[in-house]
């Protein structure tokens, strides 16, 4: 075993022992402020429900991690990859375990959400462990997208509850929540997130894909982590959900749908891991149905079911891995007869199958008893559905085990390491022990169910050799299951048709089509942007103008646009402005660069004259000087460009259409700018207290020319920044042209 594998097993073992010890010592609770700004608390507490799931995550973790320590090096060797990649898998598995523990202990919903998403991240890293494999990457992405996008619903639910009740502590919420829209909305969102995580129909499709992960990952993900997290959340939030009976009915419906879809597809599938994956969808459907039934009976059934299922399902996945490792095959029709070659594995997995199919003398028997009990309590129709479900389960599990271990095949069987077998045997032993002495298991489930039910939820486990309803239902289920198993070859056609229909129009198809559609749409829009929009100033001017025009249209304009009086003494000003306007118009015409530069400076100079006429001598002086400087610089720049380039550029005529378009854009921008300026100038100048203060204080600053005092003293900071701008501009020009700026 590598160091990383030992570390992972050790983490799981320590977690298991610590959880057990903490419970034995009377529980464990931490509660410290986390983010007072939002009243968030780091509160973790071990209760019955947490204990059940924590022990499962850690206990199954020990066995699965031990299995992985033997499996993964072989897997890497098959693929020709270096053995050190093993550490990545063990690390992610440990993260998976820790986030499950955090999830089940968290009592603050935001904290719970953190762990909720962490489990999704861990599973993404694990499903995508074989990164070189495209289908592994796609499967990882699918699992991640389905579970994290729906997780956002959980976040919204938490925030809805926080907005309504001012807390994110689960216990406080349960205490104060009353039926109403907030609870209904939050409950529905929580259920949606949880059901997606538990791979319930119609969001079940990611789970069969997730079998792209190495087998130990599947064994863990399907039993004690990830998928279990979904039903855990429903169990945890059940008192809230129960406030709105419609939510429970919804759970019931989705659970039944998942049992049917998962069960039928499991009956159809031939790939070992795929069959088991569909079976998980179906089995968690049972749990969801029982949570939908609710009450003490439903809660008790759900908890025991999760416990029995986790033990058995991890064993079956590990069986599938060991079988494939031994024979190199994973399709049912090409397998068979392994009972003689691998007797220990056959026995262990046989116990696991028996427990899932609820045969007597296994822990699973009682889970179906409770299931039947809860269903019969709800009504006859559900009792019938429950029997049908159990029959379906028996049929596909019988097919799985029989197909692998009975009959015969030509498969060559290589020996496998003991660590691929003994975890299965251990789990098989455990479920049989549970069938004989169910007491401790029942106690565990009972403590968990009490939390879900919000009161005592007795888990009554005993064999009753009488004609009570549960027994009759069980007998009926076994009989029907056996018949179904026998009749299955004849149903193959119908099952294939169902699977094909699912592939053609099912949710998985919706997912892949949306993803492909989004990518295609993206490429199309990108082409448009690159071809037509980038590198066009119009792309900024047009929307800006449109926004301004919209603003003008939408606000009252009465009295905004005024025409002031024009008197004779304004004549010079008007003339200079007219010259400026003509010069501005002229800049739109010339093709010769020199003339363009001259027209631009004509605009500038006429503005300088305007400043002078309005009494801004300082500004006029600077304007004249700067205009001169710029005119000369323009000329200087043009002299640097080869004359041929300039002529070519000048000759380039725009075509009629772009010309018209440019004209419209330019005119619109001009008109809008004019409107803005006109609107501003139509208002009387407010008295400017600052100006008077400047004049009054100029003496204090020892200056007589107030403009200079403003620039160098009152607003010297602005000037300091502006001259820094000039320096940076010089650096920029020198760097661009010279490649350097050297002092």
């Amino acid at each position: 075993m590598s160091a990383s594998a030992i570390a992972a097993v050790a983490v799981a073992a320590v977690a298991f022992v610590a959880t057990w010890a903490a419970w034995a010592a009377g529980g464990f609770a931490v509660d410290v402020p986390w983010a007072p700004a939002w009243d968030l608390r780091l509160s973790l507490e071990l209760d019955g429900l947490g204990l059940l799931y924590a022990l499962l995550a850690a206990g199954v973790g020990v066995l699965v991690f031990a299995y992985a320590s033997a499996y993964v090096p072989r897997h890497l060797a098959h693929e020709g990859r270096p053995r050190r990649e093993e550490a990545r898998l063990h690390g992610a598995m440990a993260l998976f375990l820790v986030s499950m523990l955090g999830l089940v202990l968290a009592r603050d919903l935001v904290l719970l959400f953190v762990f909720w998403d962490l489990t999704a991240i861990a599973s993404w890293l694990l499903i995508g462990f074989d990164r070189a494999n495209r289908s592994a990457r796609l499967s990882a992405l699918m699992a991640l997208l389905v579970t994290t996008i729906t997780a956002v619903l959980l976040l919204v639910a938490i925030l809805v509850l926080r907005a309504e009740y001012g807390t994110t502590q689960i216990d406080e919420l349960i205490a104060v929540a009353r039926p109403g829209w907030a609870v209904a909305l939050a409950g529905a969102l929580i259920a949606a997130a949880a059901l997606a995580k538990s791979a319930q129909a119609p969001l079940h499709f990611w789970l069969p894909r997730a079998m792209a992960a190495p087998t130990p990952v599947s064994a863990y993900l399907h039993s004690a982590a990830m998928v279990a997290a979904g039903v855990f959340l429903v169990s945890r939030a059940h008192p809230l959900l129960a406030l709105e009976p419609a939510l429970l009915d919804g759970l019931l419906a989705i659970g039944l749908l998942s049992i049917a879809v998962g069960g039928l597809l499991a009956l159809w599938a031939t790939d070992l891991k795929r069959l088991l994956a569909y079976s998980t969808v179906s089995q968690y459907g049972y749990v969801v149905v029982m949570l939908g039934v609710g009450g003490a009976a439903g809660a008790a059934g759900a908890c025991l079911y999760v416990l029995a299922h986790a033990l058995a399902k991890s064993a079956l996945f590990m069986t599938a891995g060991a079988v494939t490792e031994a024979t190199g095959r994973r399709e049912l029709p090409r397998l068979g007869g392994l009972a003689r070659r691998m007797p220990l594995l056959a026995a262990g997995s046989g116990a696991a199958v028996a427990t899932l199919a609820a045969l007597p003398l296994t822990l699973g028997f009682f889970k179906d008893e409770l299931f039947f009990h809860a269903a019969a309590e709800r009504g006859t129709w559900l009792a019938v559905a429950a029997v049908a479900s159990a029959a379906l389960t028996l049929a596909y599990l019988g097919r799985f085990w029989g197909g692998v271990f009975l009959g015969r095949s030509d498969a060559e069987v290589r020996p496998v390491p003991r660590r691929l077998v003994w975890p299965v045997v251990a789990l098989g032993t455990l479920v049989v022990a549970g069938g004989i002495a169910p007491g401790p298991f029942a106690a565990l489930a009972e403590d968990g169910a009490a939390v879900t039910a919000g009161g005592p939820a007795p888990v009554d486990v005993a064999y009753h050799l009488d004609g009570r309803t549960e027994n009759v239902m069980a007998l009926a289920a076994w009989l029907a299951g056996a018949l179904l198993l026998v009749a299955r070859p004849r149903l193959q056609g119908a099952l294939s048709a169902l699977a094909r229909a699912g592939e053609a129009v099912g949710p998985e198809r919706v997912y892949t089509a949306s993803l492909a559609g989004l990518n295609a749409l993206s490429n199309r829009i990108h082409d448009v942007e690159v071809r037509d929009l980038r590198a066009r100033i119009a792309a900024v001017l047009v929307p800006a103008s449109a926004l301004i025009a919209l603003g003008v249209v939408l606000t009252p304009t009465g009295g905004t646009y005024a025409v002031g009086p024009v008197e004779l003494e304004d004549l010079p000003l008007v003339l200079v402005l007219a010259v400026g306007a003509l010069a501005a118009l002229a800049t739109t015409r010339p093709r010769r660069h020199l003339r363009l530069a001259l027209a631009l400076s004509a605009v500038g100079f006429s503005l300088a004259v305007v400043y002078a006429l309005l009494g801004g001598a300082d500004i006029a002086l600077v304007a004249v000087l700067v205009e001169t400087l710029f005119a000369l610089l323009f000329v200087g720049v043009f002299s640097l460009i080869p004359a041929r380039e300039l002529r070519r550029e000048a000759r380039r005529r725009s075509t009629g259409r772009t010309r018209a378009r440019n004209l419209v854009i330019a005119a619109t921008s001009g008109v809008v700018t004019t409107l803005v300026a006109w609107g501003a100038f139509s208002r009387p100048i407010p008295d400017d207290p600052a100006a008077e203060r400047y004049l009054a204080l100029a003496d204090d600053a020892h200056g007589k020319d107030v403009v200079t005092v403003i620039l160098a003293d009152f607003r010297g900071l602005d000037t300091l920044v502006e001259i820094t701008v000039v320096l940076v501009a010089a650096i920029a020009v020198a760097t661009l042209l010279h490649g350097r700026f050297r002092a």
């Binding site: 986390w34 070189a132 919204v156 350097r740």
Partner: protein, 466 residues
Amino acid sequence: MILVAGPLLVLWVAGLALAALDGRRRGVGVLAIAAVAVAFGLQAVLLGRVLADGPQELVAGGWAADVGIRLRVDALGAVFAALSSGIVVAALLQAVATGVRSRSLPALVVFLTLGLSGLFATGDVFSFYVFFELAMIAAYALTAASGTAREVGAAFLFAIVNLVGSFLFLIGIALLYRATGTLEMVAVAEAAGRLEATTAILIAISFFVAFGTKLGLFPFHFWLPTLYATASPPVAAIFAGALANIGAYGLLRFGGAILPNELALSATALIVIGSVSIAYGAIQAIGRRDTREVLAYSSIGHVGYILVALGLGGPVGLAAAVAFSVANALNKALLFLSSELRGRLTAAIFLVGVLSVAGVPPTAGFFGKAALFDAGVRAESWWTVALLFVGGALSFVYVFQIYQHDRWRPREQRERATPLGSAGVGQRLAAGLVALVVLVLGLWPQPLLAAGRDAAEAIVVARGDG
């Protein structure tokens, strides 16, 4: 006083010294890092002081506030100042570790930081503009300094479009000054409340376009994708993580604090434009297969969220806008800084950024996203919540798609050979530090959420109605 003016002084002196020196020499680069780090340290202390004691201010020249220029740092400014300088420190560290090829890069980065630090600190509308211009011209120079024809082309487009934006901003300031008769922000905010609708809305729109252009908001974003995709990673990190903060801060300062009535009037328009930006950026990002191009479009989408939060308004909406902006700046800086690095540790660093952008805990981005949802839920604006959900879903698609594309495919399938072998210590340290901040804020969100809350409070107080 030393805390308010000190960062500016340090950066000015350092900028001057660096302008005279050859920035390609390692020692010079280290000097630049030290200067920005000192400024950052002062700003971090200032932030603590502001959060504890309220706004810190001084008037240049010791004049009265209506004559001189008042520097006034409130929680909003302090948060953005420390954030931006911190990101520049990390980016500069990576630039120097990679090896500076342009003589003037350190000086330009320091001047850019000076411009940013100044505009976050000033309480005067015009002085905001000049600092803004300083940061922008340094940015133009930074892009122009890098060289190839494609880069210079992108830089040119960047400069032209943003100059149009700056020009509109200047017009807006002129209008505001003419209408209110003052440049001092507190007085402007007071007088702006009495403006007639048309004038006020025109001013508001010109500011909006100016900051929208700066942020790269759809449809003012066309300069952004090529620029972010062609600039060197540290420069792109500075642009996306520090420079773009001008836009977010400007919208909050001018929209939230100075023109709150207009902000409220245009709430629907903001949410609509924000939504379009979210959808456009996200959909563009989905089809891209170049990490930095995805990041560029993702930036366009993410500024849409800031706008939506502003549109939701109220203390919760403004707090969400601040918290999201902070997380977003950190995310983008982190992703750009780690986008070209290879190696095991850097894959983890990049992953932190990916998770944060998607809003997956335990990262700062998660709480940024949660704050947005919280604002939508509290406003009972279910359309906005639905929009955030869809936008978030699209961002899950593109970040994880590009992560798998870039990091998981076997090397022989990747289009280009990795430019850097295994990254050097300095390069990883730069990205690692930002990743650490993102993680710490994800595990201990109190500073982020409290900063958002206090900054929003500062905005509301500045309006005078809080």
